[in-house]
Symmetry: C2
Subunit: 192 residues, 2 copies
DNA sequence: AATTATACTGTATATTTATACAGTAGTCAA
DNA sequence: TTGACTACTGTATAAATATACAGTATAATT
């Protein structure tokens, strides 16, 4: 990822938060007004730079068609450390985020039933976050279809046979066809 | 929430997936072309209905300024049951979703350190999803600032004193001032 | 039976919006 | 010291876009 100038960071931050606050993107004019530019071309050039560096994309001629490709400001901010007292504010550029657009591409959720994975800290009622079309290695946790139900198990391939292995030792491994695997489990979410 | 007609559901579904796929909203013309309407007014009327029923909002005169207020199609789809074999498709209207816009309002994440909540299945390295400005009751899990660090504990109020109680019995309850509470923990996420 | 809402066609138009082109001035690396 | 990149001003304009107004026909509600 190419480095941004401080001005470009400001522009990207504005666009990201504008979308977060309004649900749709800013027009060139919106950006111009915010920064006090006297020419719309100032905005156009900045957007072009951000596109060239891979942070944005845009459909030529279409209004408010900026799409965020990568932004350190989108997603749920992860507030690692907090200074004593309130309020908590997102700090700056390098801040990490959860559920960024990128991360959530080709992703769906499944509700977990049963206790076959509780040794892996996946419990009944949890949601597993599954990504499609991604490489799977031995030891990965996968979601797969067995019969009519979707289940979550460890993946293990021995020679040309594929097995699903529960974390709970009271259940037995199952052999399955590889094309019944829905995807790789990339996360677990539990509502409280 | 007012009921939608089947046509309105189709329109809402199109708008929602358009935003998901493109990162920005459709223009009236985009919707018109997709449905094959011969007049843009057909779209305008449908959008007006969806606004009146509380599913959308829009800035008058602004291009692509549709904002989704409530949509059963946004967020990460939860695929509960799966028919035998692939592929898995999101079914229909009543489908549930995770991380909808609504749900993620005023939300941030904190990385969990230590084992003080492992009895509540919150482990070292997990992310707690915290909502600000929401009512907190006894027994809720909250995120709070103690000294220079953020922690996650059970909330308990006895008379006019507020305590934070760890799930792990080897740690002791702490009394704190209520304004050091950052918010209510509404979920736990673990990357795998 | 009357009223309201749905679901459009058809036309017209104001304005929002993006973008091109021509410059200026400063910085920064080769 | 030349070229590339940044960071803008200033002007002009084609095109994208939303929306208003006038209708028609059907279904649902009261």
């Amino acid at each position: 990822m190419k480095k941004l100038t401080s001005r470009q960071i400001e522009i990207l931050r504005f666009i990201t938060t504008f979308i977060k606050n309004n649900g749709y993107g800013p027009s060139v004019e919106d950006v111009r007004l915010f920064f006090g530019f006297k020419s719309p071309n100032a905005v156009t050039c900045h957007i072009r730079s951000l596109i060239n560096k891979g942070y944005l994309s845009k459909e030529l001629g279409k209004a408010r068609s900026i799409k965020i490709k990568f932004s350190p400001f989108s997603g749920i901010p992860i507030l690692g450390k907090v200074a004593a007292g309130k309020p908590v504010v997102v700090e700056d550029f390098s801040e990490d985020v959860l559920f960024s657009k990128d991360e959530m591409e080709n992703v769906f959720a499944l509700r977990v039933k049963g206790d076959s994975m509780q040794q892996a800290h996946i419990y009944d009622g949890d949601y597993v976050i599954v990504r499609r079309n991604v490489g799977i290695n031995n030891g990965d946790i996968v979601a797969a279809v067995i019969g009519e139900e979707a289940t979550v198990k460890y993946f293990k391939k021995i020679k040309d046979k594929t097995f699903l292995i529960p974390a709970n030792p009271s259940y037995k491994p199952v052999e399955i066809k590889e094309n019944f695997i829905l995807g790789k489990v990339i996360g677990v979410y539990r509502k409280i």
